[in-house]
């Protein structure tokens, strides 16, 4: 009967992951539902009890507390709970209480297990570990992202249409000469017009030189025989998948008659995807004067949006954007030097914060400073004052606007000698107070982008060394991190920030990214690790045994997940011509993305708790 239990079916049909099931399956599930009602304050499920049902909130809202105490999550309409207990055999860890009058749908455990075994989407969704859920979320987002790769065919990517080829009997020496003359890194070996093998620079290194093969032997003996090929109409995505799966970087492309058309290299794909970014990098590095630099730097957001559209992973987009930012800073310093003459003593231009961590997106303000050699005199300081001002002004014009907190080379506080910087960090570490810590934390993410790298590195090592031993300082950092309001979920927007126009939004940076950065930084400093990037830090912490491998992985996944959403959000703003920000309206997220975010929030909250337990207690 078409209309039977239509209320239940339409509700489930719009709810992830049930929305992936066909109508018949949903109708069958609807019949297995038991409807239950709870008044506000009622306990629905108690920690320590045994459970054999999946609960779905139909109306109202519930709260989950670990062992009845610590708040784990709040769920509203459409939220599911108690599945972790089904996955671990029934043992309930969270006490669930109705916050309002609540109607729930209960699905028998056996039905839940059957659904998981029949449908991948259901299994991925209801995963015991948040880590796995977030990982499948990242995968999901990447799959859904409309990617340039899906549409571009190999033919569009090919730069060198005429492959260089030779007969299999040609000697290795002659083949290498041919490659050298024609300036190719890959040689096609053909017999009677048919491709029989390929030979690359790498083969020359491994199979000829390192293996001390006689150069007079025929190329046939050292080529890769019967290489994997693709037809010319294959997509770039297929080519990348083949490269990734086979671990090679060159794929011969065949025409309709099986003839060799070209050899596609990984570089061709990269050039196609990132060409505007690479071009921008070239323009920045070669900018002849301030105007050219500003013009080149203004293209960065566009390159950023293009990377997003091209399906770049978050970590790559951040790294690429940071590399461009770094290039702009370096060129700004070089141009300033060109205007003011050579520096009187060695110095380095330092960057702090996201640029130092290699995690920059678009629309960041500038955070930088200058470290001068201790031998600098008064006139030398005047030089650096002019240099710092020039660099800051130039960067501002380039789109790296002035830092509201004054952390920029324009500011005398940010232009110190090597010893003065050391003393300044020393004061922060020895006498921390809340106000200072708030302003100084980003200075603990530091990197030199221009000038004397040795001086900057020595300073960094010095700082890391000082921080490591200071329990008081670390406890301030750990407590400062607790200030971030990580949402528990998208529960009635209660935990969300208000944007400028009064709309309730989720601040992806303040409420999710910064806490992860804080967690990684504080633990890394406590351990005396020199790593600066958040992912690098988490990996180093796991490698040092300071953080459980699984926890580090979860934080990394949460960080990447939110970064993906943040990049997509900013890229859309760039495309729309509005100023990029971090305020994501919950309505802009799919129900699935919200679910994934809830998992990320829970991982981040866990990380903050661990920080609190381990380091925040150091204060008397």
């Amino acid at each position: 009967m078409a209309s039977e239990l239509s209320e239940i079916r339409s509700f489930l049909g719009d709810l992830s992951p049930f929305d992936r099931l066909d109508a018949d399956r949903i109708a069958a599930i609807a019949r297995r539902v038991t409807v239950r009602y709870f008044r506000a304050g009622d306990t629905i499920l108690e920690a320590g009890s045994h459970n054999d049902q999946l609960f779905i909130v139909r109306s109202g809202s519930v709260e989950l507390r670990l062992a009845g105490e610590e708040l784990t999550m709040r769920l509203g309409r459409g939220g599911s709970f108690a599945f972790p207990s089904l996955l671990r055999g029934g043992e309930v860890r969270n006490t669930t209480t109705a916050l309002e009058d609540t109607l729930v749908y209960c699905l028998p455990g056996e039905e839940f297990h059957r659904l998981r075994s029949e449908c991948d989407a259901v299994r991925d969704y209801f995963n015991e570990s948040e880590t796995e859920r977030i990982r499948s979320a990242v995968r999901d987002l990447r799959l859904k992202r409309p990617s340039t790769l899906q549409h571009a065919t190999i033919e569009q990517l090919l730069v060198h249409k005429q492959p260089v080829s030779c007969e299999p009997g040609l000697s290795i020496a002659d083949a290498a000469t041919l490659m050298s003359e024609r300036d190719v890194s890959t040689l096609a070996i053909c017999e009677d017009g048919r491709l029989v093998g390929i030979f690359t620079d790498k083969d020359l290194r491994k199979r000829v030189v390192a293996a001390r093969t006689d150069f007079d032997r025929p190329i046939r003996e050292v080529m890769t025989a019967a290489p994997r090929t693709l037809p010319r109409h294959a997509t770039a995505a297929e080519a990348m998948a083949l490269m990734a799966a086979g671990g090679f970087r060159h794929i011969p492309v065949l025409g309709s008659a099986g003839e060799l058309v070209a050899i596609l290299s990984a570089t061709d794909i990269l050039a196609y995807l990132g060409d505007s970014a690479i071009d921008t990098g070239m323009l920045v590095a070669k900018a002849a004067g301030p105007q050219a630099l500003v013009a080149a730097a203004r293209q960065i957001p566009e390159g950023f949006a293009r990377m997003d559209a091209g399906g770049f992973h978050a970590e790559h987009t951040m790294r690429f954007t940071s590399a461009l930012g770094e290039a702009v800073h370096r060129r700004a310093a070089e141009l300033a030097e060109a205007e003011l003459g050579p520096p009187p003593v060695p110095y380095a231009l330092l960057v702090f914060g996201s640029l130092a961590r290699g995690e920059q997106l678009v629309g960041s303000d500038q955070d930088n400073g200058i470290v001068m050699d201790d031998r600098v005199d008064e006139s030398g300081r005047e030089y650096f004052a002019a240099l710092g001002a020039r660099i800051s002004d130039l960067l501002d014009e380039c789109g790296f606007v002035y830092c509201k907190g004054g952390i920029m080379a324009k500011n005398a506080e940010q232009r110190l000698t090597r010893s003065e910087w050391s003393e300044r960090y020393g004061r922060w570490i020895a006498n921390p107070d809340e106000d200072r810590i708030l302003r100084a934390t980003i200075c603990f993410d530091m990197r030199a982008v221009h000038g004397d790298p040795v001086m900057a590195q020595a300073l960094h090592e010095d700082v890391v060394d000082k921080a490591r031993g200071s329990g008081l300082f670390l406890s301030f950092l750990a407590r400062d991190a607790q200030r971030s309001k990580v949402p528990l979920g998208f529960f009635r927007n209660l935990v969300l920030e208000k944007s400028e126009d009064g709309q309730k939004v989720f601040d992806a940076k303040a409420q999710a990214i910064l806490p992860v950065i804080d967690i990684a930084r504080t633990f890394a400093l406590a351990e005396g690790l020199a790593a600066v990037g958040t992912i690098e830090r988490l990996e180093a912490l796991a490698a040092a045994g300071r953080m459980a491998r699984g926890d580090a992985e979860s934080l990394k996944d949460a960080f990447l997940l939110v970064s993906e959403l943040r990049i997509a959000h900013q890229a859309a703003q760039v495309r729309a011509g509005t100023a990029p920000d971090n305020a994501i309206a919950p309505a802009a997220l799919s129900p699935l993305e919200r679910d994934y975010l809830k998992d990320a929030f829970s991982v981040i909250s866990g990380g903050l708790d661990s920080l609190k337990r381990n380091l925040a207690g150091g204060i008397a």
């Binding site: 039977e4 209320e7 609807a30 297995r32 539902v33 038991t34 409807v35 709870f38 109306s59 109607l103």
Partner: protein, 224 residues
């Protein structure tokens, strides 16, 4: 006192039904019927809704939807929704409301074939409906027509119960199913599908029961 008389009358009518000589009706009469003293939470209930082709006393039944439940929860496994054959030209107003056209009404099952499983489902159970007078009246009328005996039915009317729980609400709209459900934070359902309405009434009773004393007796909530 009134409760005792009502129960006595119900038992007497059951006893009479037991003598009808019809297997279906004897089974109904011989079912385990809950005593009025039984706590409501232990009572077996059946939410029922009929869609009719009009408001007249002789309105035809177009659709019946029912589901068995108790105050702990509503298992949808046994939910039933049946269209009923009716050859009569349908009252235009009612047809547009229910979305049950003449064609579909002709394709439905004969009334008797719908009543038989309904009588079985109702055996030993208390009927629950919003405005239960209509459902009780239709059951009595149609069973008399089909089986020659009017089925005795005990019912809880969620509308009547709501007037007791919230006696001072102004206007009749305040007691309509959708408005009452909204007061208990129950989701808005499309109305005028028999099974949806039966489910809506069943959920409402769960919500109302949570406002009554935990040991409230069945007899005290039966419609008078």
């Amino acid at each position: 006192m009134r409760e005792r008389i009502a129960d006595w009358r119900f038992r007497r009518r059951l006893a009479a039904l037991g003598k009808s000589g019809q297997e279906l009706l004897s089974a109904y009469a011989g079912a385990r019927w809950p005593a009025p003293d039984l706590p409501l939470r232990e009572a077996a209930l059946l939410a029922l809704d009929f869609e009719l082709d009009g408001l007249a006393r002789d309105a035809h039944v177009l659709q019946a939807g029912w589901l068995a439940f108790d105050t702990a929860g509503i298992a949808l496994e046994g939910a039933v929704s049946l269209d009923i054959r009716s050859a009569r030209r349908l009252d235009d107003g009612a047809v547009t409301v229910h979305g049950i056209g003449e064609e579909r009404a002709r394709e439905g099952q004969p009334l008797r074939q719908v009543l038989e499983p309904l009588v079985s489902a109702l055996s030993g159970r208390v009927l629950v409906a919003h405005g239960a007078a209509i459902e009780v009246e239709v059951i009595e009328r149609t069973t008399r027509a089909c089986f020659g005996e009017a089925l005795p039915v005990r019912a809880i009317c969620t509308l009547e119960l709501e007037r007791r729980l919230h006696p001072n609400l102004v206007g009749t709209d305040a007691y309509r199913l959708a408005s009452v459900r909204a007061r208990y934070s129950l989701p808005a359902y499309d109305q005028h599908d028999a099974l949806s309405d039966a489910l809506a009434a069943a959920e409402l009773l769960l919500a109302q029961a949570r406002r009554l004393p935990a040991d409230v007796r069945l007899g005290s909530v039966l419609r008078g």
